[in-house]
Amino acid sequence: ATEWNVSVWGKRRAFTEHVEKLAELVSEKTNGEFTMNVSYGGLSKNRENLDGISIGAFEMAQFCAGYHADKNRVVTVLELPFLGVENLEQERAVSNAVYAHPAAAEEMAQWNAKLLMTSPMPQYNIVGTGEPRTTLEDMKGMRVRATGGLGKAFEAVGAVPTSVTATEAYQAMESGVVDTVAFAQHAHLSFGTINQADWWTANLNPGTVNCPVVVNIDAYESLSDAEREALDSSVEESLDHYLANYGELLKRWDAVLEEKGVEKVEIAPEVLEEFRATAAAPARDAWIADMEAQGLPGQELYDLVVKTLADAKAGN
């Protein structure tokens, strides 16, 4: 029998449903010969999940690219602001494309990790307290919990990214460490930031965070053929389950806002345009230049994302 330890964090939520589903499917397909023990924070701090995989402390883990860009430069392309991803299916498609790129695989191999699947998330809109911040002027000096490329986007318009971990976000908002928190809907729910909030931006859509699930290469290779087959064949099914589950959550979202008394704020198109102009192109150019300087195919990766996204949109 093979038993894998899986390190995730927080508590069970929409964001971890594919991992739970994967564990369930793999166990079913192998008649309980191959089981996964999903631990929420018991095995590692989330920012050290890649270290844990590298050491062999556990066999599978989830992490987010923006926590530590230097550990995973390649996948941070998926966190660039205003890529224009419209839904979870498109997010899944662009992530798959980047994960399949040799540069991504090679960088993860340095951590003895293999990219297994993504955790597709909708656009990270912000919640805040007090008066809604609807202009770029309002965002100057705003302390926003936003990691990675999102943080850079807000920085470009004069806000100050202040990253507490997801588990501390509620506390940070309550105590005034941050004014606003950028999260996907499920996280606003499960980390309680929606309970603190007075308003939520419905259409800011600045981008999202990319959080891969990886496996330890040695552990993966030492699986029996049947076990590996069970694992590989369950990935797409787990993601389908994740998307369906997340879809339900998004359908409930407006009701949640109403129940919690949170105002749904629409940002004016000209403000959005201004935000995009200030944040998107400079962040992209800086990222590409930075990657190319480090010998990584920055332009190629960016083009791959753009092309995959266009294909996904055309296919819909």
Partner: protein, 213 residues
Amino acid sequence: MAGSAAVLEDSSLLSKLDRILLPIERFCALLSGLAIFSLMFLAAYSVTSRKFFGAPMMGYVDYIEAAMPIIAIMGVSYVQRDGTHIRMDMLVSALKGRTLWFFELISVLMILILIVALTYGAWEHFDRSFDCARLLCSRDSSIDVGIPIWPSKLVVPVAFAVLVLRLLLQAWGYGRALILGLENPVAVPLNLTIAEQAMIEAKALEGLTDGTD
């Protein structure tokens, strides 16, 4: 608690080495203290710039996190030197002479093995974040302002390495006391009764307040 026990000195080689190591440990502990002091200014500055100038400090959390290992770990050997790390000394305080040195020696040797292992583990943790083929040698960066994390990770194996030296000296000290059957060995914290310890603590406070008069 934080009362310091007595460490005797004489002209032996062991005691000399003890006194060579002490200033290094004191320096490390002072680094901890200065880092705490700077933390006060950093937080006060961050609050002021946010409250009164509407300009929160960029990377405040990153800098604090980077400083924490210096604050928390750098002085670890200084604290071991005079036996300030707390323990339950109900049993030990009832022991005397060779039995006592035997217990102390075993205890120090086990800590030594542990810390050697942790030094290696902490070094590996540093090493995973350090790659000089890259910009600023960085293979792990902070979340908001992207500063390299390896310097902060390097603090731990360095502090532990100093602690290894200290533990070697203490093992030597207790071993010597065990073999020679010494009553008051040098270079090891002498096991005080709680009452004696309280006395020293109170004296330290007295010195503290008198010093400002």
